[in-house]
């Protein structure tokens, strides 16, 4: 066998091996969590309140808290992020300012989430006197996921063919009409992907949330009530040694939620693309 054929085979083997290893790691984590936790998960666990600090009962307030917090975070981050992306891609030409902005968002993406938690605690919880609350947690998460939304939206907007914009402008549409009627509808799949990734990340986030949304496991009645997310609930149960079984049960629900969000994203996107290509 000659040398370049050999190197080809080695490359394929290494690349294939890397892929396999990645898949195996993901599968192992999911299997491990489900195997340990699934026995705890039943309707009662999902729908009832925790009793005795979480040693008994279910996690319903944590599920609700996670959902409210993530939805509120996306609701805050979506208009800001997409707006910024539209501005960057459609209304500015590449210059020092846009490069600085892009560099800034990239840096923001690399910051560990506990730093966001600390910032949220100092700014939203203390300075703005929101207290440990749904609102403070959601705003902190929003800042954390903004870079993802901006970047994925900008990429999606830039991949819309320039000629479509030209056509729209040539029949007398304004920039804004062009953005609204042609660019955004075409960029939607990419934007949705970024949003769903951010949603998934918000669901699983712990460090940024524990300092800002607190850890009350009562049902929240408004945005200024403290909530406990599933991730925080898991952390407290495990850390304080309250109940390993219930902790794994929570983890199983959490993992399944994140998986469900991802599957839903792909399903929505395929449906959307299929509908447009009709």
């Amino acid at each position: 066998m000659n040398a370049h054929k050999l190197s080809q085979r080695v490359a394929v083997a290494l690349l294939g091996g890397a892929t396999l290893l990645t898949l195996a790691a993901v599968a192992f984590v999911i299997f491990f969590v489900l195997e340990k936790g699934l026995s705890q998960v039943n309707l009662e666990f999902l729908l009832s309140k925790p009793r005795d600090m979480g040693k008994e009962g279910g996690i319903f307030p944590a599920i609700a808290g996670t959902l409210f917090l993530s939805l509120l975070a996306i609701a805050a981050a979506l208009p800001l992020g997409v707006g910024t992306a539209v501005y960057l891609a459609e209304y500015t030409r590449e210059n020092g300012f846009t490069r600085a902005l892009r560099f800034g968002t990239d840096c923001l993406a690399g910051i560990p989430s506990i730093i966001f938690g600390l910032f949220g605690y100092i700014f939203f919880v203390t300075t703005l006197r929101m207290g440990w609350s749904l609102l403070a947690g959601a705003l902190t998460l929003a800042i954390m996921v903004l870079p993802t939304i901006i970047r994925s939206s900008e990429e999606a907007i830039r991949s819309v063919p320039e000629s479509w914009r030209e056509v729209s402008l040539s029949v007398g549409a304004t920039r804004w009409e062009t953005v609204r009627k042609v660019v955004l509808p075409s960029a939607l799949p990419g934007i949705v992907t970024g949003v769903m990734l951010s949603f998934g990340r918000s669901i699983g986030e712990t460090a940024a949330v524990i300092f800002t949304a607190g850890s009350s496991f009562r049902m929240p009645r408004g945005v200024f009530d403290s909530v406990r997310t599933m991730a925080v609930h898991f952390y407290i149960l495990a850390r304080e040694g309250i109940s390993t079984e219930k902790a794994y049960g929570t983890a199983a629900v959490l993992v399944m939620s994140v998986l469900a969000v991802n599957v839903l994203t792909y399903w929505l996107m395929h449906r959307f693309i299929a509908r447009r290509a009709r």
């Binding site: 402008l169 040539s170 007398g172 290509a277 009709r278």
Partner: protein
């Protein structure tokens, strides 16, 4: 279709007067001082080899050049006697009066109906009245008929414009332009990617459309210019070499370079 004939101007008077038009991109001067009139209700064919700034000339007539970075325009373009490069002229309003069909068939990613209705809807409010909807249906139908496409798409107006064939797509783009009821139609090599039958359909449409519209047709195909254009202008390296009635340009050109080009010696 009730396309507006230019008010107070008879057949043959100038719809567009171009004076000393220069367009440059960055340091590169593309169009080097062109002056030419386009007569109302006529087809002006613009011919010339690749790189002779035919498209830049065309795009100067509805201020599309300025969408590109570093573009500078000098000179004047009068549409019905008014300079479209004055600061008081709104390019968005101008482009509603001047329609453009691009070289590549470029339907928008929406249904056939929505493609044609795209321009007219820009003028409607958010909640169009029932009458406006009926009018729009009518406008879509007449526009598609004028572009010789109606019979082929009347049963699938709701289907995506992207699913049509290339020739159909280009006629859809023509219909989209016609639906705006423009005064001036600019066509940038509209048949460059089309088969002879689709090309013939488009040419047929143009020769009928000139009764209502003024048309500027840029083409790489000299035969096409000789078939459909009333006047022909020959561009070379950003300059207008010669213009005149099509028959004269093809049979008895006064410039040697024109003769060489139309007889196929270069280009």
């Amino acid at each position: 279709m009730s396309g507006p004939p230019s008010p107070g101007r008879g057949l043959g008077s100038a719809k567009v007067e171009v004076k000393g038009l220069r367009v440059s991109f960055g340091r590169e001067e593309a169009l080097r001082g062109v002056s030419i009139d386009v007569a109302a209700n006529r087809i002006l064919g613009v011919i010339g080899p690749a790189g002779s700034a035919k498209t830049t000339f065309l795009r100067a007539l509805d201020r599309m050049n300025e969408l590109k970075i570093g573009c500078r325009t000098e000179g004047s373009v009068l549409l019905d006697g008014e300079d479209i490069y004055l600061p008081t002229c709104d390019p968005v309003a101008l482009r509603k009066r001047v329609g453009m069909v691009f070289a590549m068939p470029m339907p928008l990613p929406m249904s056939v109906y929505d493609n044609v209705a795209y321009g007219p809807r820009l003028r409607q409010g958010r909640e169009p009245s029932p009458k406006a909807k009926v009018d729009l249906d009518e406008l879509v139908e007449t526009s598609l008929k004028a572009a010789f496409l109606w019979d082929e798409v009347k049963d699938r107006l709701g289907g995506s414009g992207l699913m049509l064939s290339g020739g159909q797509q280009q006629r859809l783009c023509l219909a989209r332009t016609l639906a705006m009821r423009p005064e001036l139609i600019l066509l940038d090599e509209p048949c460059s990617g089309l088969d002879p039958i689709s090309t013939a359909r488009i040419e047929e449409a143009l020769s009928i459309l000139k009764e209502r519209y003024t048309i500027v047709l840029v083409t790489n195909n000299t035969k096409q210019a000789s078939r459909v254009a009333d006047e022909t202008a020959f561009f070379l390296m950003g300059e207008l070499i010669e213009t005149g009635p099509t028959a004269r340009i093809f049979l008895n050109p006064s410039d040697r370079r024109t003769e060489d080009y139309v007889t196929g010696r270069f280009g």
